[in-house]
C-alpha cells in the first residue's frame, strides 16, 4: 500500500508539471496545445544529448533543455499561433495548427534523434528501502523532489512576480489586462515559452528514469489533456489536482489490476468519460470559452 502511494506521488508530481504547462497555454491563449507531448519528448532528447551523449553535468543539461524548449515555445507562438489567431475567427484553426505542429515535431525528432528508445546513465545509485514496504531508487526520489520543486517555483513565480501577475491578469480578462498596459503579444509569447519549457523540463527529468522515445509524444499529450479535464481547464490548482489524481489512479490501478493485463487505461478512460458527463467543467474549472 505505502509503495503504491509513493509511486502515485512520484508520478503525480511529473504529471502535474506537464499539465501546468498545458493549462497555462490554454488559459492565456485559448489554445489546446496538441503538440505538448512532443515538446516533452523533445526536452527528453535534448537532455539525452547533452547529459547522455556529450557527458556534461546533468544540471547544465536540464538548464539547456529548459532554455531550448522556451525558445521553441516562443518561436512557435510568434510565427505560427500569433498570425493564425490574428486572422482566423474560429478556435478550430488553432487546434488544427497545434495538431499539425505535433506531427511536425514528431518528424523533426525522428530526423534528429531517430526512432530508438534512448536512456542515459543513472544519476545516482542506491535504493531506499523501508522494511520492504517502500522501495524507491534514490534517483527516483531525486527526480520526484525536483518535479515538486519546479511546481513550487512555478506557483511562486505566478503569484509573486510582476510577470506572473500579468500572465494571470491576461488569462482572467484579456481586455482589462491590455487596459492596464500589458502588451498582449509579448506576454502571450512569454506564456507559451513558459508552458513549453515546463513540458521540456519534465522530459529532461523523466529521461533519467524511463528513457525517451519518439512514440511517447502523442500519449503524453492525451494524458495531459485528461489531467487538465479532470482538474478543470485553465486553472493552476486544477492542473495540479488533475495530475496528482491521474498519477495515483495509474499507480493504484496498475498494481490492483496487474493480473488482468493491460486494462488500466481502459478503466481510466471510461471513468473519465463518466466523470465528465457529470461534471463537464472538471473539479474546479471555469466554463469553457
Amino acid at each position: 500500500m505505502e509503495q503504491i502511494l509513493v509511486n502515485g506521488a512520484y508520478l503525480g508530481a511529473q504529471y502535474a508539471l506537464i499539465a501546468l504547462g498545458l493549462t497555462l497555454i490554454f488559459a492565456l491563449m485559448n489554445v489546446l496545445n496538441f503538440a505538448h507531448g512532443q515538446m516533452y519528448v523533445l526536452g527528453g532528447f535534448v537532455t539525452y544529448t547533452i547529459y547522455g551523449q556529450l557527458g556534461m553535468p546533468y544540471a547544465l543539461a536540464l538548464l539547456v533543455t529548459a532554455v531550448s524548449l522556451a525558445v521553441v515555445g516562443a518561436v512557435v507562438e510568434r510565427f505560427l499561433f500569433r498570425p493564425v489567431i490574428r486572422r482566423s475567427q474560429r478556435d478550430e484553426s488553432t487546434m488544427l495548427l497545434a495538431a499539425g505542429l505535433g506531427f511536425f515535431l514528431d518528424a523533426v525528432i525522428l530526423l534528429l534523434f531517430g526512432e530508438k528508445q534512448r536512456g542515459v546513465p543513472k544519476l545516482i545509485d542506491g535504493v531506499f528501502n523501508w522494511d520492504f514496504r517502500v522501495i524507491m531508487p534514490h534517483d527516483r526520489i531525486l527526480i520526484g523532489c525536483l518535479a515538486v520543486g519546479c511546481i513550487v517555483l512555478f506557483i511562486l513565480f505566478m503569484h509573486f512576480s510582476k510577470t506572473g501577475r500579468a500572465l494571470r491578469a491576461l488569462a482572467q480578462d484579456r481586455d482589462a489586462a491590455q487596459l492596464m498596459g500589458v502588451d498582449v503579444d509579448r506576454y502571450s509569447m512569454t506564456g507559451f515559452a513558459l508552458g513549453a519549457m515546463l513540458a521540456g523540463i519534465v522530459g529532461g527529468l523523466l529521461v533519467t528514469i524511463t528513457g525517451v522515445n519518439l512514440g511517447m509524444g502523442g500519449p503524453t499529450s492525451t494524458k495531459a489533456f485528461m489531467m487538465v479535464m479532470i482538474g478543470g481547464a485553465g486553472v493552476i490548482p486544477g492542473a495540479i489536482v488533475g495530475g496528482v489524481i491521474l498519477g495515483f489512479m495509474e499507480s493504484i490501478l496498475l498494481s490492483a489490476l496487474a493480473s488482468y493485463g493491460d486494462v488500466t487505461y481502459l478503466l481510466i478512460f471510461v471513468s473519465l468519460m463518466i466523470f465528465l458527463a457529470i461534471r463537464p467543467n472538471g473539479l474546479m474549472g471555469k466554463p469553457w470559452g
Binding site: R168, A169, Q172, D173, A177, Q178, L179, G181, V182
Partner: protein
C-alpha cells in the same frame, strides 16, 4: 490635452462612430452622455487603442496616439475604467491594484500610491486579501477606480461607473470622481447613462446620438437645455 477629430469607427462594416470630434483640456471633467448604443464606449475604446479607428485622428498632449498600441497609450498617461468594471476576479484586491501600476517602475512611489488609494477607499483595506470576484458591485467599482489611479494617470476614462451600483453608492462614487479631479489634478472623461449625475459633476459635456455628437456645451447649460431635458434627462430624478 485630448483632441479627437473626425473619428470614424466600424465594427464589421457597421459604423459605430461617424465624424466625432471632441476635445478635453487639462484639469477638466468632461461628460459624454447618450442612450445605449450611441457610441460612448466606442469613443473610449478608440482612445485607448482597443478599437482601431478608420478615419480621423486622436491626439494627446500634442501627439497623435491613434496608431499606437494600447500598452503604449497607457504609458503616455491615459487609463480607462471599462464598462462593467472588469475586475480580475480570481486575483486579490491587492494584486488587482498592483496591476494598475503595471506600466510603472518606480517601486517606492507605487507603494505610496497604494497607500493613497487605500486611504481614499478604506473599504478596500478591509477586503485587501480577498478575491475581487467576491466583492459587491460598489466595492468592485471603487476597486477598479483605485486600480486606474495606481497608474498615476494624467487622463482618466470612466465608462459608466454608476452602472448596476446601489443609489447610495452612486453618490459616493460621484464624490470620489470630483475629488480625484480636484485633488490629484487628473483630467476626467466620464461616460454615463445617468446623465443628471454626469452633468452635475462635469464642466462640459457632449451628448451623443447614433454615433455622432448632437449637442455640446457647458454642463450647467445642458442641464437647463430643453432638448437635453427631453432626450437625456426625461424621467430621471
Amino acid at each position: 490635452m485630448l483632441k479627437i477629430e473626425n473619428v470614424e469607427l466600424y465594427y464589421d462594416h457597421v459604423y459605430a462612430l461617424k465624424k466625432v470630434s471632441l476635445h478635453l483640456e487639462e484639469g477638466e471633467t468632461v461628460a459624454l452622455i447618450g442612450a445605449n448604443g450611441a457610441g460612448k464606449s466606442s469613443i473610449l475604446r478608440s482612445i485607448t487603442g482597443l478599437s482601431k479607428i478608420k478615419h480621423g485622428s486622436i491626439s494627446f498632449q500634442g501627439q497623435e496616439i491613434h496608431h499606437r498600441r494600447p500598452a503604449d497609450i497607457v504609458k503616455s498617461g491615459i487609463i480607462m475604467v471599462p464598462e462593467g468594471r472588469r475586475v480580475f476576479p480570481y486575483m486579490s484586491v491587492r494584486d488587482n491594484l498592483l496591476m494598475g501600476a503595471f506600466s510603472r517602475t518606480d517601486k517606492a512611489e507605487i507603494r505610496q500610491s497604494l497607500e493613497q488609494v487605500l486611504t481614499r477607499f478604506p473599504i478596500l483595506k478591509e477586503r485587501y486579501g480577498q478575491s475581487a470576484g467576491t466583492l459587491s458591485g460598489g466595492e468592485q467599482q471603487m476597486m477598479v477606480i483605485g486600480r486606474a489611479l495606481m497608474a498615476k494617470p494624467k487622463l482618466l476614462l470612466l465608462d459608466e461607473p454608476s452602472l448596476g451600483i446601489a443609489p447610495k453608492l452612486v453618490a459616493d462614487i460621484a464624490r470620489a470622481i470630483v475629488q480625484i479631479n480636484k485633488e490629484e489634478k487628473v483630467s476626467v472623461l466620464l461616460v454615463e447613462q445617468n446623465s443628471r449625475m454626469a452633468l452635475r459633476i462635469s464642466h462640459r459635456a457632449y451628448a451623443l446620438t447614433t454615433g455622432a455628437v448632437a449637442i455640446h456645451g457647458k454642463s450647467s447649460d445642458l442641464l437647463e437645455d430643453e432638448r437635453v431635458q427631453a432626450a437625456y434627462l426625461g424621467g430621471e430624478l
